[in-house]
Amino acid sequence: MLNNPPFVRIADADPAHLFPAGLEYNPPARGMWNIVQMGMLIPGAHQIYGCAQGCLRGVCLTAAEMNALDRLSWISLTEEDMFNGTLEQSLVDGVSEIVRQLDPHPPVVLLFLSCMHLFAGCDFDAVIADLSAAFPDICFVDCYMTPTMRESVPPVVQTCRQMYTPLKALPKNPKAVGIVGNDRPTDEDSELMKILRGAGFAVRDLTRCKTYDEYLQLADASLNLTYIPTAHAAGELLTERFETPCLHLPNSFDYDKIAENYKTLCGALGISCPDFSAEMQAADHALDALKAEIGGIAVAVDYTAVTQPFSLAALLCQHGINVKYVIADTVGEDAAAFRWLQENRPELLIYAPANVNMLHQHTQAAEPVLAIGQKAAYYFATDHFVNLILNGGYYGFSGIRKIAELTAEAYRTTKDRRTVLRHKGYGCASCLL
């Protein structure tokens, strides 16, 4: 009997505490984005990291693999810096030295500090103020690579929020709606986009910005939408700064919740809600077709593929699909689906993605598995997998239909698992390809 078993029957799981904390293993599935890739979304932005070498290494090579080393610089922190009273001045000097070499100056510098700066009480406001005075043409943004603080303010959430701070107030455009906090555009076929486009709204979305001027235009939205959990703080920031209302419309796989989202959105836009029963039926047909094609094969869903893995698992189960495994270490917005699975699929196993006893999971003899997500593909050693990160831009009924179609395609075909999973940052440029 292991001290820390890597899986638990869902019937026995406590949704508030799926697994005990412990040492962590890092599986080689690299599709999730990090703060470097997020920061690159702001057109023309330059990132500077002030951190210890061990922390710098990962961000530098993320940029290198994206062929974007020219957009990232760094200042290495030494032991002496922590204790000789020059922490702030050294940062100002180091950033100034780098900025003087940038020609032309970038419109924005995202300056990332580390856990050590926070523990040392670094006066980041003073650093930003000094730099802003020295380089008035540049907007310096305080950013945080602080994984030690991940339980209070996760770096991805914080970065997502800070990326909207360079925006300046603009007159509100009543026909502009923002989609905030994503790392990829929302699928144009989604009902969400059809509602917005159909009613003549312009969509403001950082992921679609090609120029810095387009980025600045994000501030004129009269309504903002978020739908992934890490985007909450960014939406709240825009509400605080520009009094722009923000709706959170979670990317659920529950039909009632999806319909409720559309009703809420249309109410806020002052338009009548279209009838999406055809899209709902198409989703049902796709799921039924998926079931007919894949039969009883075991299916695994992981939390990197979709933000609500239990919601997706419940939907698939409701269509007769044999979801046996979910890889997740927390239960978030899909607690209701979790409870449904506890009652209706009590034998479903939840695997802890970073548990040390997952080290050899991929070598265990298992039945054929059809995976949705990279970590599920790795841990269940299958080349039949859907390569999807954070819902892949899919949303609503059309999103369900497309994910069902992708799952059927994954059943019919194979992917080169190793090549796909080693690509850091799904959708990003990569020198490895």
Binding site: L23, N26, L69, S76, L77, V356, N357
Partner: protein, 383 residues
């Protein structure tokens, strides 16, 4: 903050060096860190991560545990994991935050050993130095802990010290160097630390000489010199001429017990070539070129023993210092990782030699095995 870089990346950190050195030895290596160290190591620094599993983990340090100094959680978590996985040894390493809060890793290791009954040692990394420091401490520690006094001395027995994928990422290189030793009448006793189990390393005192392949192996070599009287020779068998010199130097060292640094030989005439990289590898390349008519020198931006560089070499380590050194030298050719291309003098020709400890996976498909006369063929092709 004396170290800034506008564009080039930084080298792998000391904790990565420690993890890399211990990777194949059947132990459990735990970096006390919040989250980034293991992801960075597994993604960029460790090419074996997919094919060869190793008990290399992080502690997942949290803000609350850092503030409260909750070392008990680290100790309990390592103890629990060790009970599940039964490692041959346990190594606990530091990262920046534990340095900041003053974690006593020796005490933590002692406590873990008391609870698990498994030999546990501390490695004093803090994520603020480069990989040779962590790898050096780890390999020396393995030598101190596990190498037994010689039962039977092997007259032509050689230890290979300082071999990790951070410096030797072409995984054929380890086998090629063993083949080269065999072709020259030597027997490989132990390789620290690729391809041999901990039990094999324990026999290292049977060797008559150590071949130090990188700075990371030098501390272990010095220990075995002090403890067992085994002399060491620094260099890598690159190039036909240098490899022959290296083989002769190994024979002489085994016979008379003298340590030697053939990687510091330099040519004085011919085209100027600057080699940027790890001290032993870069020095070897400069020496190999020196033997074939080039005036080559080294820029070593990494920690190194002073005996590994020589007159005309440079220890510039920051981006502007390296660019300044190159501007002063004005070499006709630079052999360096391709990511140094951003800071080379305009007139210099770059011969890219990917170095995993610098560019990670970016060029992992084209890292050459330069053992023996392969180096000569490679250089000719690159020209």
């Amino acid at each position: 903050m004396k170290h800034t870089a506008k564009i080039i990346p930084c080298y792998a950190a000391d904790s990565a060096g420690a993890c890399s050195a211990l990777y194949e030895l059947g132990g459990m290596t735990v970096v006390h860190d919040a989250s980034g160290c293991n992801s960075t190591f597994a993604t960029f620094d460790e090419p074996r991560w997919w094919d060869q599993q190793s008990m290399t983990y992080i502690s997942a340090l949290t803000e609350l545990d850092a503030i409260l100094g909750n070392d008990e959680k680290l100790i309990a978590d390592v103890t629990a994991a060790a009970a599940d996985q039964n490692p041959k040894f346990i190594a606990v390493c530091g990262s920046p935050m534990p340095m900041m809060i003053g974690v006593d890793f020796d005490a933590v290791a002692f406590e873990i050993e008391q609870r698990t009954g498994i030999r546990t040692f501390a490695l004093h990394t803090n994520g603020m130095h480069s990989y040779p420091e962590g790898a050096s401490e780890a390999l020396r520690c393995i030598a101190e802990e596990y190498v037994r006094p010689a039962e039977t001395k092997i007259p032509n027995g050689v230890n290979l010290l300082g071999m990790t994928p951070l410096d030797f990422d072409n995984l054929h290189t380890a086998a090629s160097i063993r083949e080269w030793l065999a072709e020259n009448g030597f027997e490989t006793v132990a390789c620290f630390a690729m391809g041999d189990a901990l039990e094999t390393l324990a026999n290292a005192a049977n060797a008559s000489v150590s071949l130090v392949l990188s700075q990371s192996g030098l501390a272990a070599a010095e220990y075995m010199h002090e403890a067992f009287g085994i002399p060491y020779v620094c260099g890598v068998p690159y190039g036909e001429a240098f490899s022959a010199l290296l083989a002769d130097t190994l024979r002489n060292a085994a016979a008379d017990g003298t340590c030697a640094f053939p990687c510091t030989e330099r040519g004085q005439a011919g085209q100027t070539v600057t080699v940027i990289g790890e001290a032993v590898s870069a020095g070897t390349i400069a020496a190999a070129l020196g033997l074939t008519g080039y005036a080559a020198n080294v820029i070593c931006p990494l920690p190194h023993d002073k005996r590994l560089l020589t007159a005309g070499d440079s220890d510039a380590f920051a981006e502007d210092e390296i660019a300044g050194a190159l501007a002063e030298i004005q070499p006709e050719t630079v052999i360096a990782d391709p990511l140094y291309r951003f800071i080379l003098p305009n007139a210099a020709k770059l011969i890219g030699l990917p170095h995993t400890a610098f560019s990670g996976r970016c060029y992992d498909k084209i890292i050459p095995d330069l053992t023996g006369n392969r180096f000569d063929a490679w250089y000719k092709e690159m020209l």
